[in-house]
């Protein structure tokens, strides 16, 4: 999260070009949207017991369980005035998600963008995205579910009062899926990374140059890590 924000900052300072990141989580973590209440969405104690990190994002959206080894996360940082971005905030989610849709089709999956911010395969969710903007820069990031772990997810996310735990798991299995489940075989993270790289390049009509974080981005990320580790930030609502 600190790195995503650092890249966003560096872009706003024109220190770096538009940037795409593809990354994973270690350990597993729960992230919540900027406008959510941590206590309402997450069983913080259960996370602590299981060694699951908890973090508030700067982007809106919902509570997400990021299983270690279970998903690939992407982030896109580009200027707000980029001609590829539509006028509408709502439409921009669709445009920036197109790379995932194309990437998944390269894996032989028929992916469909579902407003506001989801992508489904066979009507079940495989990907969710979140976006924020600051200083003329857009950050959109999101997950692609490669392998699901509904039990842990339900231990750490607060289940709506109306549903019992098992009912909630069944309901979730019907609404959420993973690439492995849809392909009927274990899907490699490397395979997904390759497909998404190609998908994003096709969608954004661009050729990526593999690079590393600049020293300025690293320094900024180190600085921002303190924020993301703080109670003040994570429990701010």
């Amino acid at each position: 999260m600190a790195i995503d924000e650092a890249v966003m900052w560096a872009r706003s300072q024109r220190l770096v070009p538009n940037t795409v990141r593809l990354y994973t989580w270690r350990p597993s973590a729960v992230s919540i949207g900027y406008f959510q209440s941590l206590e309402e969405e997450v069983d913080v104690e259960a996370c602590r017991r299981r060694g699951v990190d908890v973090v508030r994002r700067i982007t809106g959206g919902g509570a997400v369980f990021h299983a270690q080894g279970g998903e690939l996360t992407y982030s896109l940082v580009l200027e707000e005035r980029d001609p590829r971005l539509p006028e509408s905030f709502t439409e921009s989610f669709r445009v920036l998600c197109r790379g995932i849709v194309l990437g998944l089709s390269r894996l032989g999956l028929e992916a469909v963008f579902q407003p506001v911010n989801d992508i489904t395969v066979n009507n079940r969710k495989v990907s969710g995205s979140a976006q924020t903007r600051k200083s003329g820069v857009v950050l959109q990031h999101g997950t692609v579910l490669v392998k699901t772990d509904p039990e842990t997810m339900f231990m750490v996310l607060k289940v709506p009062r109306e549903k019992t735990l098992s009912k909630a798991i069944t309901a979730a299995e019907e609404r959420v899926t993973s690439l492995s489940k849809e392909k009927g075989r274990p899907v490699d993270l490397a395979e997904v990374r390759q497909a998404l790289e190609e998908g994003f390049q096709e969608a954004l009509k661009v050729e990526f140059q593999l690079s590393e974080l600049t020293p300025a981005e690293r320094r900024k990320a180190e600085e921002l890590r303190k924020k993301y580790a703080s109670r003040e930030w994570n429990f701010s609502r």
């Binding site: 949207g33 900027y34 406008f35 959510q36 209440s37 309402e40 700067i58 982007t59 809106g60 959206g61 919902g62 509570a63 905030f89 709502t90 989610f93 407003p115 506001v116 911010n117 979140a130 976006q131 924020t132 903007r133 600051k134 609502r237």
Partner: protein
């Protein structure tokens, strides 16, 4: 003082939670949370600040719509109307429990 929490599901998926405290007919505390998207990021905190201290009969629909329009708030998954409806529900249900004869 009455305190009420409500969860308002917007058709299409996003959830708005409103926690409101009412004392002597005025909103003393308000917290709006949810899985929606708003820009700028400080829109919710700003809106809460403006709602605090207002009487429960205020025209929140007009107020919130006006706020969104003036400040050019960008929203995805929710509208100004949805926030007004969520707030109205919270206040309505809260007030009904503690009506003074």
């Amino acid at each position: 003082m009455t305190r009420r929490t409500t969860a308002y599901k917007v058709p299409g998926g996003k959830l708005i939670r409103v926690q409101a405290s009412v004392e002597s007919g005025l909103i003393t505390e308000i917290k709006i949370t949810g899985d929606f998207f708003l820009l700028p990021s400080n829109a919710i905190v700003d809106l809460e600040r403006r709602l605090r201290g207002l009487p429960v009969e205020a025209d929140f629909r007009a107020l919130i719509a006006d706020y969104f329009w003036r400040e050019r708030i960008m929203a995805a998954g929710v509208t100004a109307e949805d926030f007004a409806a969520a707030l109205a529900r919270a206040l309505r249900e809260g007030c009904n429990l503690h009506k003074q004869p």
